[in-house]
Symmetry: C2
Subunit: 361 residues, 2 copies
């Protein structure tokens, strides 16, 4: 029903980048964030696309996100590298860690990248898809703010804590999944709130600990893990891998630190890369990938079953041909950022933030 | 209702080992298998305990499992080692890889162990618990035989494909989970079949692709992944990590190879270890573990929520004090193995196997 504007993928990138630059992001950060937003919009992952632009701005306006700091890469151990994002948004730090991680995995067989002090409101599939495009197997784990109750509990503790995985293919886009350990992504609830829709059963409990279908109650209460205690265990694992393992925060700490309520939690992300050829004496990657195809054929050969990223790749092809549809209201908001007309909104935000800061003291 | 025999934990080990030795396993294999079976029985993981003894015997009698081959360890890359089990059962190969993997992780920060050509009917938590007892974070992944349909599909393709994870604690037993990517472990269905019980909804479909509560129909049809498509993605990931990555088989290949229908699939297992101290500049493991305790406190502080391995640790304490209860029928079967009285059963098995071998030619 709501009006939309159709943009080409390049126009999405140009618009996002212009808005980020105009509001004060440095060129390299603006490019990396625009890359991330555009990839999501292109693949019809709406809640990580242009929908996230206000979150990037909130991070900037509140002073919680540095608009310009350079990521700092260090080697912590022979197979472990670390990129300190210095309290900036994660896309540039992840891009900075990508090639060094891949090289280390190709040399050692397995390697890990710790990204710390990074504000993250993006999907994880871009970083593991990049690794798979280099012929590597990838994992990524990131925590968030306390949104999800542990199985059996009633109070939010875990982030939506996604994990992503990628497997390379020969001449085909990689098999990739990126899934929240909550029953739904938080963005899906936020979009339903915006659109006045109710939630499916099993997504959330209200502040009273009882099941709810109301997005507002859900956001005030707690989301639920997917798949009961098993999904809850995955959420706990992600929390440990993205927090204490990296010397970064747990979701509840990230939430407490976001005093300006930007919705852009700051924390760690663990990325692991493995080189299949280093797991086989003789290292015949081609045979390994051909072997995996025997599995993929038997998945897609079953009516109703599909490979996890295929929906995104279909959207990607569609977007390249027909462009993407952006809600008019959102488009206008981003245009106003790009035109530098958001001063009022920005000042209000900063005022609010100062209030929070004073309270914290 | 069924009669039970109470054994001490040491008696379980002695009985299992005597049975394995009497039937022809070499001392080191018999010890490693008895260790695994005893740990499971002690922790009240019944379907990986003495219940599995006939599976070990089937593997031996059918000629599919070597009773005596020594595991061969090689270094494939600076951070990757491989143990070839040579078509023997996995416990000895996993024990052989444990210390070398831990040392490599302590040196490089992260390291991987590939165990190949191993028959596996055991749980995964022993190998990750061992790593955590050394202060490391552990992952393990293993496939099986084709039991589980991909989400949306109707035919078995994936194994029950468990993944395990461990996190070390200071002065406390580690936090460990080991969970099938199917809604239930296959052993849980087998035990319900044995006990004449029905299955909960959501565990399985029959050979007709329709939901079933009948354990027999479920074993002939397909189990279902936990948590819908997300659990299905985990199953696919495990399949790729334990098979093509290691140059070992996919579950459907392991199933086809088990011509004697032993129920003891042969394949690969991936174990990953990380040293937390190598992920933090300065390497303050104590601080990292103390940080993780802040999460654990907030899990156990919620009524109804608990840490994943606590049930096992409670059982462990109970078993140390009161011993374990073993069904009398199972106890007698194992006694007959130990007394060398299972010749008839063994010969029948071998006859059956020869028929299969002839068919295969």
């Amino acid at each position: 029903m709501s009006e939309t504007v159709t943009l080409s993928v390049d126009e999405v990138h140009a618009l996002a980048k212009a808005a980020l630059l105009q509001q004060g992001f440095a060129d390299n950060h603006a490019t990396a964030i625009a890359n991330t937003v555009t990839m999501a919009e292109r693949d019809e992952c709406r809640h990580h696309g242009l929908f996230r632009m206000p979150f990037y701005m909130n991070g900037l306006w509140s002073g919680q996100a540095s608009p310009s700091i350079e990521p700092v890469l260090t080697r912590l151990a022979p197979s472990v590298i670390r990129v300190d994002a210095g309290y900036s948004f994660s896309p540039l730090a992840l891009e900075a860690g990508d090639a060094p991680l891949a090289e280390l995995a190709q040399e050692h067989g397995i390697a890990a990248l710790s990204v710390v002090n990074a504000l993250n409101v993006a999907a994880l599939w871009p970083e593991v898809e990049r690794l798979a495009q280099r012929g590597l197997v990838g994992f990524a784990f990131v925590a968030a703010a306390p949104y999800v109750a542990p199985a059996g509990g009633t109070r939010p503790l875990y982030g939506t804590n996604p994990m992503a995985f990628s497997w390379p293919r020969d001449g085909l886009p990689p098999v990739v999944f990126d899934q929240a350990s909550s029953a739904s992504a938080r963005g899906e609830i936020q979009i339903r709130l915006r659109d006045g829709k109710t939630l499916p059963d099993g997504w959330a409990i209200g502040p009273d600990g009882q099941p709810t279908n109301d997005p507002k109650e859900a956001l005030a209460g707690a989301q639920l893990p997917f798949g009961g205690f098993k999904g809850s265990n995955i959420a706990m694992m992600v929390e440990l891998l993205a927090g204490p393992l990296l010397g970064d925060v747990l979701s509840f700490e990230a939430g407490a630190r976001d005093t300006a309520n930007t919705g852009a939690p700051c924390g760690g992300e663990l990325v692991i890369a493995m080189d299949p050829a280093k797991f086989l004496p003789g290292g015949d990657r081609k045979a390994q990938l051909a072997h995996a195809e025997m599995l993929f054929e038997r998945i897609t050969g079953q009516t109703g079953a599909r490979l996890p990223a295929d929906r995104r790749y279909e959207a990607r092809a569609r977007s390249a041909e027909f462009g993407v549809k952006v809600p008019k209201v959102l488009h206008e908001t981003i245009l106003s950022y790009a035109a530098g007309q958001a001063i009022k909104e920005r000042q209000a935000y900063e005022g609010d933030h100062l209030t929070h800061q004073n309270q914290a003291r």
